[in-house]
């Protein structure tokens, strides 16, 4: 199974956010999307999952869907997007309630993803009682519950502090080891992209164009730790050089218009 997007173009109010972007995500592959703010990476993620209509181009899932898939694309959101009135287990169950499952099947699926995200003992807690990291784990559990063909992550760690981010990266690594699945990971954090992705696609700012696709050729197991950081550092420099100038422009921008 592979996700293929071709000729994606998106414009709102005459402002071109994405211009003819092509991408493929292979079986079990994690593709990172990075770029300066305003490069349309979140827009692209919305288009990939059918949440936004591209002005041109299309997205296809080619090949057989993995067995048990209820929802081919599920999202993990930057702001978690949990229902504050629902417990952890009930937030996860939201992803399943409208599917034809018996209540026993649903309960089993919820238990399984709660265990996978180490949330079992928090199942009846309310979101307000949880730390940011725990809340995002609920968001991840909910996204996994529907057994997506492609997991779409929209800056999943950006709202968390550095230490929590580190812990969740370890969780993601463990998760991908246990349940290999295709994913698109949007981030502005280079370290996250290099730790967690197989390939990283760099988008340029307005109009969003693919500047380069970089393969992260350091094996996943070797990426954490000091040696991993050293092995990844040339790639990190290369990515930063691709983004730096545009990030600087983005930073000096006033509501929609660049002061060139």
């Amino acid at each position: 199974m592979q996700l293929a997007a071709s000729g994606i173009h998106h414009a709102y109010d005459g402002l071109v956010a994405l211009d003819t972007v092509d991408l493929t995500v292979g079986d079990g592959e994690v593709l990172g999307l990075i770029g300066p703010s305003g490069c349309g990476k979140s827009t692209l993620l919305g288009i990939l999952g059918g949440m936004l209509k591209p002005t041109r181009g299309d997205v296809r899932l080619v090949g057989d869907m993995p067995a048990g898939t209820l929802n081919p694309f599920t999202y993990v959101f930057q702001d978690f997007a949990l229902l504050p009135w629902r417990s952890v287990a009930d937030n996860v169950s939201l992803a399943l309630e409208h599917h034809a499952l018996t209540s026993a099947e649903r309960a089993r699926a919820v238990d399984e993803v709660l265990a996978l995200t180490s949330l079992s003992e928090f199942r009846s807690a309310l979101p307000k009682q949880l730390s940011g990291g725990m809340r995002q784990r609920v968001g991840i559990a909910r996204a996994l519950a529907a057994r997506p063909a492609v997991l779409l992550l929209d800056e999943p760690l950006s709202a968390l502090d550095a230490q929590t981010r580190e812990l969740l990266m370890e969780d993601f690594e463990a998760l991908w080891q246990r349940r290999r699945m295709a994913a698109v990971y949007v981030t502005h954090n280079l370290d996250e992209a290099l730790r967690l992705c197989d390939r990283v696609m760099v988008l340029s700012r307005r109009p969003g164009l693919v500047r380069e696709v970089v393969s992260v050729d350091v094996p996943r197991a070797k990426r954490p730790g000091a040696e991993g950081r050293i092995a990844l550092s040339p790639l990190r420099d290369r990515l930063w050089n691709l983004i730096r100038d545009e990030a600087k422009v983005a930073e000096r921008e006033i509501a929609g218009h660049a002061t060139a």
Binding site: G49, M51, N71, F73, T74, Y75, F77, D79, A81, L83, P84, W85, R86, L94, A95, E97, H98, L126, P127, K128, R142, A146
Partner: protein, 268 residues
């Protein structure tokens, strides 16, 4: 850093924080009430004012006891409560339906918002004479006045509350394939509940005001009628007894809504 020769121990850094944090004094409110009532009693007892114009708290209590004893109070109270409850329920049902329609559907919003804005400011009691012509002098005209008075703030609160449900939650539900109907039940309704409940506080107090006003215009029974009749007969102690009943009624409604909020919104 070198220590200065004079004052080798240095100065302690003075505390400047703390902010403004008014502390709750337990019993202060009760004491203030007691002092106020005692003062009032004293003013009457020492004949600073004519007890006909300002009866003493004790005579108000006695008058209250008398109307309760005779059963009049309960008849008046039952009549008022019936009007409040039916009028409030009707206005609330219609207001919630209109508010949700405005919050959820473009066509309802385009029609509803200007309509509600135009009709909301009308003092509803001004329409009572018209309602009497339409529905007769009995209960329906009073209930209709209350229902109309309750309808507008409820509709405004409901559509504001629906608008305030974070769009990110609705998009999240859509991304998980939750059907539109379920999104209304599982996301919009619970998300709008805090705003709806604070709307209830406003609509309940409007219902209380309108029932008294309507009963003062025409009614044999009801707390408003009781207050008006007592005034006409110069029975100021009974008049103020009616006012006390109204104030207790308001407090009861407020605490009932407070309890409801704690029950339903414990997740906040």
């Amino acid at each position: 850093m070198q220590r200065p020769e004079k004052n080798p121990a240095g100065d302690a850094v003075p505390f400047r924080g703390g902010g403004f944090a008014p502390l709750k004094r337990r019993g202060a409110a009760l004491a203030a009430f007691a002092v106020l009532i005692a003062l009032w009693q004293a003013v009457v007892a020492f004949k600073f004012v004519n007890p006909l114009f300002l009866p003493a708290p004790t005579s108000i209590a006695l008058a209250l006891y008398a109307v309760a004893e005779s059963g009049d109070l309960w008849r008046h109270l039952a009549a008022s409560l019936y009007r409040i409850v039916t009028g409030w329920l009707m206005g609330t049902t219609a207001g919630l339906a209109a508010g949700f329609a405005i919050g959820l559907f473009g066509i309802a919003r385009s029609i509803g918002v200007p309509l509600v804005s135009a009709l909301f400011p009308i003092p509803k009691i001004a329409l009572l004479p018209l309602f009497i012509l339409w529905f007769g002098i009995g209960e329906p005209s009073k209930v209709a006045t209350i229902a109309l008075g309750v309808f507008f703030p409820t509709a405004v609160a409901a559509f504001g509350a629906v608008d305030n449900v974070p769009r990110s939650l609705i998009r999240m539900a859509q991304s998980f394939g939750v059907p539109a109907r379920d999104i209304v039940w599982k996301v919009v309704l619970p998300g709008a509940l805090p705003g709806i409940l604070s709307g209830f506080r406003i609509s309940a107090s409007i219902a209380l005001i309108l029932v008294v006003a309507a009963e003062m215009i025409n009614a044999q029974h009801g707390i408003g009628a009781m207050v008006l009749i007592a005034g006409n007969l110069m029975q100021t102690d009974q008049l103020l007894a009616g006012v006390v009943v109204l104030s207790v009624l308001g407090l009861l409604v407020a605490s009932l809504l407070g309890w409801l909020e704690r029950r339903l919104l414990h997740w906040r």
